[in-house]
Subunit: 338 residues, 2 copies
């Protein structure tokens, strides 16, 4: 194995504004030796996620920045092909925060086994993984939707948004999605059961469209996008509204300071709560979230959607597509066959 | 009594921007008859508060707007001088939401007796009243300061701010106040024990001054003012920061939409919570708050300050003074002697 070629993707320059293909470089390396208590893992699937854009900047944040000329890391599903740990066998399928590359050598403690009997293994990067837990805990712990309330979710057809809306429906709320194409609007209303959805790209007056879609105002706004779309939603919040801040994808690529209406007066008038969160704050409750989500999938109450691109060489394009509103559901790259 | 003249202050026009003396009109009325289960109350002290500015606008809010050409209402301490209720005796001192006038006739259920043995009666409008409860619950329930953390409070020498800082000190936090004069800065640091205070009117770079005063960042920001001062504080918040929104006095008189840096990205990066609140959300816990505040006063751990103007005729000026940064502590008007 150690003579196999390891294709790797490095961050070769920090993007200014929207990232481009030029920020990434492909190199070929050899595979390091597998030492005691280590595993050699062949990459099967890897995940591209909007939060990774933040790690490409050289700034202090909750998660350290990617280092220049180093392999980019993210959620990876792989197969153990060599093991010097008694806890893993060859053929085990595992999940970890690994590199954008064909092969990884890691300490056994850095990955966890995936139970391949519960659901397709790709769900470990989606509905039963980070996006699923983000939707579950952000909506239920912070948003706390009640039956009869109105929940608005932006990025509604994305990996997280599509789950947020479906969980809110399970809780008896009216659900309004905001997305960026007619196809997505149709998908969330017709396939996923959202009560209404708005295509922000073709809607001249978001405020008016939202007023129509939310005749009783907005009780929960699950915010994936930020910017002017969120301004419009926030102008309609009800007394006691809850606003989980999950992402601000419209701003990740912005070079300018984000100027707009200050939201404080509105939060004060409406005695509303706005709370930024990270899924990693809920690590000790993942078991609860995964069990419940798996149950809902089994009962047909939660559908999920994956968009799978093939080939390590297409990882940069899959990542860049997150910011052009192209993808519906969880964006994955299949690197090799199981 | 019913032949006595009742001087009353009406809202005769809605302010545009900063209110002026011309928005108020004085009239003389007769005193209505006292019916069964009613009381005639002579006004002793009345309270002028920043939140009243919002009620002068004709807009939907958590509290209905003042009506044009009607008597303005607010917190009042009065003496019962005629009673047709078995629950009150002549001479009782009471607290209620009553008019800016010499005499009020109210149903007995609209006022509550003040225990004149606990503390001076004026404290019912200040440290043991609405401002005290606002500071107590906003800081402890939302801000949740921990020993060793840094708490910043704006409007630091105001009725609420001065109490917030002292309660935070009791809880072992480092306390930094923001106020609008050297006198106030001195007062909160030298008299009230704040660790530092900044005069925003003479400080050219608030960001820099705050960085110096908060070497470990900001864990709790109790916001009374909003606007650019708050922008500067919020740029320094730590992971997991809590921001109780109590007031936005810098904006109450603004005719323009409040434009500035959108705070969402910062709240997300810092997994911070911003929450607008009203003291009336804590009504069922007032007993706890008043008991604890009275205890701290008794132990010398909480000092309070009142600024008392004499004469009903000076009520408009006392109210207008709230917005020019003139007053330290709770602003009251003494209308008649006990």
């Amino acid at each position: 194995m150690s003579e196999a070629v390891n294709n790797q993707i490095l961050l070769s320059s920090r993007p200014v504004g929207v990232p481009t293909r030029d920020n990434f470089t492909f190199i070929k390396s050899s595979i390091p030796e597998v030492n005691d208590n280590q595993l050699l893992i062949r990459t099967l699937y890897l995940s591209v996620d909007p939060y990774m854009r933040g790690r490409m900047n050289d700034q202090k944040s909750y998660i350290p920045p990617f280092q220049l000329d180093q392999v980019i890391t993210g959620g990876v599903i792989g197969e153990v092909i060599e093991t010097k740990s008694s806890e893993f066998q060859v053929g085990d399928v595992v999940l970890g925060l690994l590199g954008w590359q064909n092969y990884s050598v890691v300490d056994a403690g850095e990955v966890q086994k995936i139970d391949t009997n519960i659901a397709p293994i790709t769900t470990a990067l989606g509905v039963l993984g980070m996006p699923g837990m983000t939707a579950y805990f952000g909506l239920l712990d912070i948003g706390q939707p009640q039956a009869g309330e109105t929940v608005v979710v932006s990025g509604a057809a994305g990996a997280v948004g599509m789950l947020v809306g479906q969980i809110a429906k399970i809780k008896g709320a009216r659900v309004v999605g905001i997305a960026g194409s007619e196809e997505k609007v149709q998908y969330v209303t017709e396939e996923l059961g959202f009560d209404a959805a708005i295509n922000y790209k073709t809607t001249p007056n978001m405020q008016l469209a939202l007023e129509k879609a939310c005749p009783n105002g907005v009780d929960v706004y699950f915010d994936n996008v930020g910017g002017p779309i969120s301004d419009a939603v926030l102008s309609l919040i009800n007394q006691g509204a809850r606003i989980p801040l999950c992402g601000q994808i419209s701003l990740y690529n912005s070079e300018k300071q984000d100027i707009g209406p200050r939201i404080q007066v509105q939060l004060l008038k409406k005695t509303a709560t706005m709370k930024g969160f990270l899924v990693t704050q809920y690590t000790d409750r993942y078991h609860e979230g995964m069990t419940q989500m798996a149950q809902w999938i089994k009962e047909g109450k939660i559908k999920y959607s994956e968009n799978i691109v093939e080939g390590l060489e297409n990882v940069p394009e899959a990542f860049l597509g997150l910011f052009t509103g192209e993808n519906t559901g969880k964006q994955l790259v299949k690197v090799s066959d199981c």
